[in-house]
């Protein structure tokens, strides 16, 4: 049975990855799972400079989902390269760095630094973070700006580059096509949906930033639709995500057109969920007599 899939030239031992911002850097989950079994991990959003992120509170629970407004808290690309990288580079899985910035120059510089790291085979260009004042989602909600940043980073980043798309747009397929046109090896979707929560008793917004990003099963039907739309518009591989909680959800995303999938919020509820999803996909393939997981991709009848 073959579980391996490819994005650009890069092979993944299976289609199951972890989503940026929901899996730390990996070590956080070592007590619960064997990291080396994963198809890939995408580490926390990384920026050129250290960021403290937004003020607390940054989280709200919502029906079948959650809001977050972390705001890209991270120690900056130098600490990543000099410290964190060395703690995780031994993992036998594809480690992607999720790269973010407030300006195109920041994206470029960060990607250049990551390009030097031997054991990082790819980046995920985050042009869809709804939780930062500058940059982030602003890049991902119009074709010209998405093209500009993708094109600029492509010039300096030589390995696998996936662009992470924002769902907060009228036409996500159009943006996917645009970044495909300037050299993205793949697109990943969806990032969180811009949303908010209010506490009726205190009359205050729950998050310090008022709005935040919605993730979890609540958004799965929207994510699935967007993956399906993008699959009809582009030829490059899609990494699908948004509310995947189990193998059945993962298979639905593959049938809609995803080559690989990412698991985000579900890691909080069950830190061993990724392994269960890998096992569940195998089980499904056995039951349905499917030898190659690639046969699932876009296989919706």
């Amino acid at each position: 049975m073959n579980l391996a899939v490819k994005i650009g030239d890069l092979e993944f031992k299976n289609p199951v990855m972890t989503a940026s911002g929901t899996f730390g850097y990996g070590p956080e989950f070592e007590d619960f799972i064997d990291i080396n079994r994963l198809g890939g991990i995408v580490v926390k959003g990384t920026t050129l400079h250290h960021r403290e992120g937004n003020a607390y509170p940054r989280m709200a629970e919502t029906p079948s989902g959650m809001l977050n407004a972390v705001g890209l808290q991270n120690k900056g690309v130098d600490v990543f390269c000099n410290d964190i990288y060395h703690k995780i580079k031994h993992y036998d899985t594809n480690i992607f760095v999720n790269v973010s910035g407030s300006t195109i120059e920041e994206y470029i510089e960060t990607a250049e630094r990551i390009n030097e790291l031997d054991h990082i085979p790819g980046i995920e260009l985050n042009i869809s973070c709804p939780n930062v004042k500058e940059g982030g989602m602003a890049f991902g909600t119009s074709c010209p700006s998405a093209v500009a940043v993708t094109h600029a980073v492509r010039e300096v980043y030589k390995k696998t580059m996936v662009v992470k798309l924002s769902p907060n747009v009228t036409n996500i397929a159009e943006i996917a096509k645009a970044v495909e046109g300037v050299g993205a090896d793949g697109v990943s979707l969806i990032n969180t949906l811009l949303a908010m929560a209010i506490n009726a008793e205190t009359k205050k917004s729950v998050l310090s930033t008022i709005t935040g990003g919605l993730s979890g099963p609540a958004i799965k039907p929207i994510a699935l639709r967007m993956v399906w739309q993008v699959a009809q518009a582009v030829k490059i591989p899609i990494i699908g995500m948004g509310g995947i909680m189990n193998a059945t959800d993962a298979i639905e995303f593959m049938l809609a057109g995803s080559t690989a999938i990412q698991v985000g919020t579900a890691n909080f509820i069950d830190p061993a969920v990724t392994i269960k999803i890998i096992d569940g996909i195998e089980d499904y393939m056995r039951r349905h007599k499917i030898d190659d997981v690639n046969d699932l991709i876009g296989g919706m009848l």
Binding site: G24, D31, P57, R58, A60, M66, Q73, F268, I269
Partner: protein, 264 residues
């Protein structure tokens, strides 16, 4: 003084409910049986409970470890019903299973033998203090415990706490103990404690910390920030400290108040 810096190995598994004891209409104590050795669990650590069969309580619920019984490998969790999650968990019955991630977070420091400690708990904030009192007493620390609450109904488990130290009580409505906030209790004026440990509502802990600092007493508090993951992966539970945003779930929940930037 010992404090736990290394995190112990964490587990996620279905634990059998050995008992679910109703304390009063708002509080209950779940006793769950663990399959791993729990004798090294430290006071102040917590667990994350999954509320099964529902998405009304989507994320796990963080709950302090109230007591540990190494002889039967069980832990007690003291839970207050405040919303959907804690209400649904209250329905667990002896023999049921509950999905638990444990043990999480860093512990209170245990001060040296012969020293004198004041433990200040407000409402369900008393939860992490019982096991702390037990460990302090074992270390021959002189333990004083101040329990505060709005009224009689919020002062719970005093007979249990009594085993490990001298008890003081204050209620806002004067239904039991001295009248007023815990910080107005006479014991708070005494300045010869070597450490004040506190857990309870945020404003209470801030007030306790202020008095401690005025009296030059070391002070540790256990924070209850909103958590999504409980293991340092999501960065949702942060609190501002002298070294920037730190995660309450892994850098805490226990913090020395000196490092907290409570005015930020």
């Amino acid at each position: 003084m010992t404090s736990n810096t290394e995190l112990s190995k964490k587990y996620v598994e279905l634990l059998k409910v050995i008992n679910n004891r109703t304390v009063n209409k708002d509080y209950y104590i779940l006793e769950v049986e663990c399959s791993h050795d729990i004798s090294n669990i430290l006071p102040g650590q917590f667990v994350e409970l999954l509320v099964e069969d529902t998405r009304n309580a989507f994320l796990r619920r963080p709950i302090s470890i109230y007591d540990v019984h190494p002889e039967r490998n069980t832990m007690d969790l003291l839970i207050q019903i405040v919303g959907e999650g804690t209400r649904l968990l209250s329905k667990l019955k002896k023999g049921d299973y509950v999905d638990v991630m444990y043990p999480l977070g860093k512990s209170f420091s245990i001060i040296d033998s012969g020293k004198k400690a004041l433990l200040v708990g407000g409402g369900v904030g008393v939860a992490p203090l019982l096991y702390l009192a037990k460990k302090l007493q074992k270390n021959n620390v002189e333990v004083h415990i101040l329990l505060g609450g709005r009224g009689n109904d919020n002062i719970i488990e005093t007979s249990n706490f009594k085993k490990y130290g001298k008890i003081y009580v204050s209620t806002e409505d004067a239904s039991i103990g001295e009248k007023g906030f815990v910080t107005q209790h006479s014991i708070m004026q005494e300045s010869d404690f070597d450490m004040i440990y506190s857990c309870g509502p945020d404003p209470m802990m801030r007030a306790v910390a202020k008095i401690a600092s005025q009296n030059n007493i070391n002070c540790e508090v256990s924070l209850e920030n909103m958590m999504a993951c409980g293991i340092g992966a999501c960065l949702c539970c942060v609190t501002p400290t002298t070294s920037g945003h730190q995660c309450v779930c892994t850098d805490g929940p226990v913090f020395n108040t000196e490092v907290l930037e409570w005015n930020k």
